[in-house]
Amino acid sequence: MTELVLFWLFAVVAVAGGIGMLLNLRNTVASALCLVLTMLALACLFVLLLAQFVGVIQVMVYAGAIIVLFLFVIMLLNMERDTLGAETYPVVKVLAAIFTVAVGIKLATVVATLRTPWAEVDEAFGTTREFGQALFTDYVLPFELASILLIAGIVGAIVLAKQRLE
């Protein structure tokens, strides 16, 4: 029962954050903050699903680094006031709405058929130890490749953003 209440609480917060991000047409900072709300609610849902380590990483990476980077760039470029607003062509708006509804219905029909019961898991499920063991045994090659991707990303970001010192 507690779980159901918590699920609804975090689900409502997550969706409200997403909608808030979309509807904040004039203020980019407010959009970013709504997204933080969604991220934090999702982290709580992860913990509810016993993925404690991933939940903490979610807070650290998404709320603590990615959105902070967004805010940093928004403030650096003085882009807080969004004068662009939403799409102006009505045709595009209608098409976007139709497409979104289609995607939503398709996903909903797929997931509505799911009736698999939850597996029984022991206490160690989702702990740092178990996660680390999976990451450094079965998934060590993807892990190493991810580090190469990160290096490439860092170098790429510096090359792109660096001002030429003439």
Partner: protein
């Protein structure tokens, strides 16, 4: 576990749809980026829920990889936005048609 699995999947679907809507209707590059992050997060929720469903840790490792990709994407993407603003003084996605000239 009193919450059925499809609740989680339905929530993931809703968040994903919101992200799609954001990418399609907003014109600010930064907001479009945020919408992509929202879609990635919806996928993450789905993966974590399935990982719990089958009682295997693999889904969580995938989420970890998704986060790495998201971090790299944001770093490079925002660097592109910065150079875009420096060169063209705009964050409107419709003004970035240089290659289509």
């Amino acid at each position: 576990m009193s919450v059925p699995i499809f609740y989680y999947q339905a929530l993931a679907a809703v968040l994903f749809a919101l992200g799609v809507l954001g990418v399609l209707t907003r014109r600010n590059v930064i907001v479009i980026f945020m919408s992509i992050e929202l879609m990635l997060n919806a996928a993450n929720l789905s993966l974590v829920a399935f990982s719990r469903l089958w009682g295997s840790i693999d889904g969580q490792v995938f989420v970890f990889m998704v986060m790495v990709v998201a971090a790299v994407e944001v770093a490079v993407g925002l660097a592109i936005v910065i150079s875009l603003v420096r060169n063209r003084d705009t964050v409107n996605i419709e003004d970035t048609s240089l290659l289509r000239w």
